[in-house]
Every structure is written in structure tokens, then in C-alpha cells.
């Protein structure tokens, strides 16, 4: 089939672009790594926001939790954490490569698992809330988490922790973390592509369309909601751990629980790209990252105003997003585009839902 070859070619091009981009543009490695992370953010937010219709403003909670847990495991494996944080990063302790990589690996795994556990616990708290209460409640939980961590001296409090430094050249370091971001984003995408081809996605869509009816039809809504949230938390936890190591210094309000930056960006990226689709979040993330970098470079000082205006315009005038718009404009195109015919049919339903 021609479309199938096209599809394979398309994925191959993206993968190759992802692998060679930091080699071609070495100066932008950090930005590119951040781009993959943004794609991961958007994809995980869309599990709830797009597919399940639960608009969370507090998903960033798992990002921060993962970041802190990863760092604590990394340090705690070889040193006393309280002693380490008491110096506020003033004392640099060198980790040997073995210590560093084993700590990082274990840290990322525990970050992912702990975030998942957090999602189950917080799911119990917030999933009885609907609509605006859910959005505000999750926002509240995320802000409160940041404040609480800031008050916890064991993890450095508001002063933050400096993450163990990478044992090697700065260039290698950049490439290493780029690779981690790339792999985590791609595996998130692959996982979601598989997940959205199962009955699980249909259950989530049923919850979005009418939760009471879904429940009446025998879907365990609370179980599905919690599982969906834990998937998002799992990947966000990993990305948090990676990001903490990438920046080298973590601190509760600006880096770990940035509710008004990353926390809102992920919502905005999905809305920009079109929610409830697989590719929408990816396109939205790429576009948003470009817009953000351009405004941050050329409109310095006004970048936040530009961002706010972008939110308003996006939400008020262009809520179906790019994928939704393309869908409306050229419905024929979708049969032969990257999405399968099945998925395109589903997206039609979802755009109707949004409109």
C-alpha cells in the first residue's frame, strides 16, 4: 500500500531528524532537548485533557515530584541527603561515572514509579471533582505541593538542591541529555499510539462524552480515570528527573513546580495543536516552542504579554486547534494522511465535541 510506505517514510524522517538534529545544530542542543520535553508534556496532558475531557491545570505536580525524587535517590544512594542539602550546593561533591549513571538510572525509575503512586493517591482526592472544580482543585494541589516542598528543609527547602554534576565533557553532557529527552518523548508517543488503538481509549472517550452514561454502561470510570492519570504521571515523572539533571539545579517554585510556565504551556500546546488527537499535541508543542523562542528573543520584556494574548486568541477564536482546523478544511486529506482511517473517524467525533 502506498500510504503505508509513506507512513514508514514519514516516521523514519522524523526519527532521523531527531537523531541528527543536535549533530547538525550543536549550538541548539539544549533547545532541541527542551522541544522533545515539551512534546512529552503535551502528549501526557492530552491523555486527560483531550481524550478524557478532564482539564487538569496541575499535571506539573508529577514533573516536580519526579524531579525531586530522582535527585534525592541520586544523592541518597551515596551520601546523606540532609547533609548534602544543608550546604545549599556550596560544596561540590564529585560523583564517579559509575555512581552517577547508576544513581541516575535508579533515580529515573523510582521517579516514574513514585509519580505513579502519587497519581493514584491524588486521583482519589481530585476525581470526585468535575469541570472547573477539577481544574482549580488540581491547580491548587500543584501550587500547594510547590509551597510544601519549599518548606521542607530535608530537600533543601526554598534554596533548592544542586544536582550531582555530570562526569564528563559539557558537549557529551548536552548530547546525553538530548538523547534521554528524545528517547522519553518518542517512547511516550509510541506508547500512546498503542494505547489509543485499544479499548482503553474508547473508555476514556466515553467518560469525556458522558460520564454518567459511561458508568451506567458498566465502565469503572474511577478506575479508568486513575489509570489514565497514572500513565501521564509515569512519563511526567521521568521527564522531571531528566529535566532536573539537565538544568543542574532544582528549586521548588521556578524549576520543579512551575505552575504558571510549564504547567500552563502544556495546556496551551495541546489547545494550539488540537486536543483529542495523537498528532495535535506534537504539532502544537513544536509550534508553541518556536513561537515561545521567537517571542522570548525578539520581544523580551513583552514575552509574557504576548503569551497571554496568545492564550486568549487561541482559546476564544481558535479552540479546535490546528488538527481540528485541518480536519474541518480538508476532511478528504485525512484518509491518506499520517493517521489511519479509523483514527480520522474518531477525530471527527472529537472535533464535534470540542465545537
Amino acid at each position: 500500500m502506498k500510504s503505508k510506505t509513506n507512513k514508514i517514510l514519514f516516521y523514519a524522517v522524523i526519527l532521523l531528524a531527531g537523531i541528527f538534529a543536535p549533530i547538525i545544530f550543536p549550538a541548539y542542543t539544549f533547545q532541541l532537548a527542551l522541544l522533545w520535553m515539551m512534546i512529552l508534556f503535551a502528549l501526557t496532558w492530552d491523555i486527560l485533557g483531550g481524550q478524557m475531557g478532564y482539564n487538569s491545570l496541575g499535571n506539573i505536580l508529577f514533573f516536580g515530584a519526579g524531579m525531586y525524587i530522582c535527585t534525592i535517590v541520586q544523592i541518597g544512594m551515596y551520601y546523606d541527603v540532609a547533609e548534602y542539602t544543608a550546604h545549599f550546593g556550596a560544596v561540590k561533591i564529585d560523583f564517579t561515572p559509575y555512581q552517577y549513571f547508576s544513581g541516575l538510572a535508579l533515580g529515573l525509575v523510582s521517579a516514574a514509579i513514585a509519580s505513579l503512586v502519587f497519581a493514584v493517591i491524588f486521583g482519589w482526592i481530585v476525581f470526585g471533582l468535575r469541570g472547573p472544580y477539577f481544574a482549580i482543585g488540581t491547580l491548587g494541589v500543584a501550587i500547594a505541593a510547590g509551597e510544601l516542598v519549599g518548606a521542607w528543609d530535608y530537600v533543601g527547602g526554598g534554596g533548592g538542591i544542586s544536582v550531582p554534576s555530570y562526569p564528563g565533557e559539557p558537549d557529551d553532557r548536552a548530547l546525553f541529555f538530548y538523547a534521554l529527552c528524545f528517547i522519553s518523548a518518542v517512547s511516550t508517543f509510541v506508547f500512546l499510539k498503542w494505547l489509543y488503538s485499544t479499548r482503553f481509549k474508547l473508555a476514556l472517550n466515553a467518560i469525556r462524552d458522558d460520564e454518567e452514561k459511561a458508568e451506567a454502561m458498566g465502565i469503572h470510570t474511577n478506575r479508568y480515570k486513575t489509570i489514565a492519570w497514572s500513565f501521564a504521571a509515569f512519563f511526567l515523572g521521568i521527564s522531571g528527573g531528566i529535566f532536573g539533571n539537565m538544568t543542574g539545579f532544582i528549586e521548588p517554585l521556578e524549576v520543579a513546580f512551575p505552575t504558571v510556565t510549564f504547567g500552563i504551556f502544556m495546556v496551551l500546546m495541546v489547545l494550539l495543536g488540537g486536543k483529542g488527537t495523537l498528532w495535535g499535541p506534537v504539532i502544537g508543542a513544536v509550534l508553541f516552542h518556536l513561537i515561545k523562542e521567537i517571542t522570548w528573543t525578539y520581544l523580551l520584556g513583552w514575552q509574557w504579554v504576548a503569551l497571554g494574548v496568545l492564550i486568549i486568541i487561541n482559546v476564544v477564536f481558535f479552540q479546535q486547534g490546528i488538527m481540528g482546523w485541518v480536519q474541518d478544511k480538508w476532511p478528504d486529506l485525512f484518509g491518506i494522511s499520517v493517521d489511519s482511517v479509523m483514527a480520522a473517524g474518531e477525530e471527527e467525533n472529537s472535533t464535534k465535541e470540542v465545537a
Partner: protein, 302 residues
């Protein structure tokens, strides 16, 4: 923390001081919360820019007091009212009217964008410094100086109460107030009865902005304003409305006063940096309690 707690036990008058301070500040929270209950109940708009309207009102008063007219903040209240009313009207015509009929998240996110724009514009204009307007009023001492109350706090309490009374009378007696109440009960029926609901919505939103602006003036006199403090005020308004429900003025006032007192006590016991954490923690707590109550009746909070 334990030290501060035992200090409260040792000096009972300190409790009184914190309690009175809390009540006096809480009365101002009631204004912004009532505004939120108004737009929420009438238009079904969850306005996350509520706190930024408050801060904006404070900065308008600040500008007037710094200007050549050297206007006292209390005298600037009518000007702030008019300016914020017009501002609210413009916002309604450009943005809000397009999100009324949409789903719940749209209004939340649109007003969140609005909040970012407002706070950033204020930040660009005035810088991130904490500001306060000096009211130049006396500070009274009671119990041999153990309890002090600034006159201005008392005056602002009275002003907030007068404002609340005026709004209540307006809603009960005036034609527009009746139209607003009719629209909130059943918008379609109101339209059939010849009420121009679009105008009612515009008026409600503008009135809310104006009320918030006045709350901001009072806040700027007795407390501090800063471009990024808006979000805390918004969350406060949400805490109050979520616990009191809309259309329940007494409930709004009582929970505002309670919130003010709780904040003062927690600020004293835990430290000032926990102010926002307290408000947010209360919000989460209120939501959980409501959820437990609803869960007993096999319902959800929506």
C-alpha cells in the same frame, strides 16, 4: 512554629489582635468574592482574572495618589469605580461575550490568559516592587498598647460594608438588579420576557470589575499590592465562593471573614511565607470536604 503557638497561649490579647486584623481584612475579600459569585452565578464565567482586577484597582488608586492631584485613596474610589467599570465593559465586548456559551474550561483558560496579560502589563508599567498607599491616619491602641488597630483598617471595613450594602440594595430594588437576578435564574425565560440578556451580562461583568477595583483600593491602603499578588486574591475568591456557594451573600461574608482570620493566624504561627500555601491548602480542603459530603449522596462536585 511550636514557639509561636505557645506565645498565643501566653498572650491572649494577641489572639484578639490577629482575630480583629483578620476580620477587617476579610471584609475586603468579601467584595472580590461577591463579584466572583455574581459572574459565576449569572454568566457561568469562572473568572481567574478576579485577583488581577483587584490589583489593577489598587494600582489605579496608586497612580492617582502619586499624580499631581495627590488624591487621597478614599477619594479615588469613585474614579476607580468608573475606570474599572469601563474596563470591564471593554473586556466583555472583546473577549468575555465570546466565551459565555462555551464549555467551562474555555472561560477559565481565557480569563487565565487575561490574568497573565494584566499582571504583566502592570509589571511593565510599575515594576515588581511591593507598593502601598499611605493613608496618613492614626493608629489606635487598646489594652495598653497590646492591641493596635489602624484607623484606616476600620475605615476600609466600613467602606467595604457600605459597598456591600449598596450592591445588595441595587440588586434588590433597581431595574437592572432585578434583570440580573432574573437572568441568573433562567436566562432563556428572561429573554422571552424582553430582557436584553447581552446587556445584563455586560453590566454584570463590568460591575464585577468595578467591585474588584474598589477592593483593590482598600487593599492598597491597608496592605500591599504587587503585580503578581493577583493569583492569591483569585484563589481566595474561589475558596470563599466554593465554600459559600453563590447567591448566598451572608455565606460569602461569613466565610470571607473566617478566611481572613484563618490567614492571620496561620501567618503568625507558620510564618508569612506560608500565606499562599494556607489559602491553597484551604481551597483543597474545602473541595475535599464538599466531595465527601456529595459522595455520601452519590454525587460529584460540579
Amino acid at each position: 512554629m511550636i514557639d509561636n503557638l505557645s506565645l498565643l497561649g501566653l498572650a491572649p490579647l494577641l489572639n484578639l489582635q490577629l482575630f480583629i486584623d483578620g476580620l477587617l481584612i476579610g471584609s475586603i475579600f468579601a467584595l472580590a468574592a461577591y463579584g466572583l459569585a455574581l459572574v459565576w452565578g449569572v454568566m457561568n464565567i469562572k473568572n481567574l482574572a478576579q485577583g488581577d482586577f483587584v490589583i489593577m484597582g489598587g494600582y489605579i488608586a496608586f497612580t492617582l495618589s502619586e499624580s499631581p492631584f495627590n488624591l487621597h485613596p478614599i477619594l479615588s474610589i469613585p474614579f476607580v469605580f468608573v475606570i474599572m467599570f469601563v474596563f470591564g465593559w471593554v473586556l466583555y465586548q472583546t473577549i468575555i461575550r465570546r466565551v459565555i456559551e462555551r464549555d467551562l474550561f474555555t472561560s477559565l483558560l481565557a480569563t487565565f490568559g487575561l490574568a497573565i496579560v494584566i499582571q504583566q502589563l502592570i509589571n511593565l508599567a510599575y515594576g515588581p516592587d511591593v507598593q502601598t498607599i499611605r493613608s496618613e491616619m492614626a493608629i489606635r491602641e487598646f489594652f495598653e498598647g497590646e492591641v493596635t488597630i489602624a484607623d484606616i483598617k476600620f475605615v476600609s471595613f466600613i467602606l467595604a460594608m457600605i459597598m456591600g450594602l449598596m450592591i445588595t440594595i441595587f440588586m434588590k430594588k433597581s431595574r437592572m438588579g432585578r434583570a440580573i437576578r432574573a437572568t441568573s435564574q433562567n436566562a432563556r425565560a428572561a429573554r422571552i420576557m424582553g430582557i436584553d440578556t447581552d446587556r445584563v451580562y455586560a453590566f454584570t461583568f463590568s460591575l464585577n470589575a468595578a467591585i474588584c477595583g474598589i477592593a483593590g483600593v482598600l487593599i492598597s491602603m491597608i496592605w500591599v499590592i504587587q503585580p503578581f499578588f493577583g493569583i492569591t486574591h483569585s484563589i481566595r475568591a474561589f475558596v470563599i465562593v466554593t465554600s459559600a456557594g453563590f447567591g448566598n451573600l451572608i455565606g460569602v461574608i461569613l466565610s470571607s471573614l473566617g478566611l481572613g482570620a484563618v490567614e492571620q493566624f496561620s501567618g503568625f504561627i507558620l510564618g508569612a511565607e506560608f500565606q499562599q500555601a494556607t489559602v491553597v491548602g484551604l481551597l483543597v480542603g474545602v473541595l475535599i470536604i464538599r466531595q465527601i459530603i456529595q459522595g455520601r449522596q452519590r454525587q460529584v462536585v460540579q
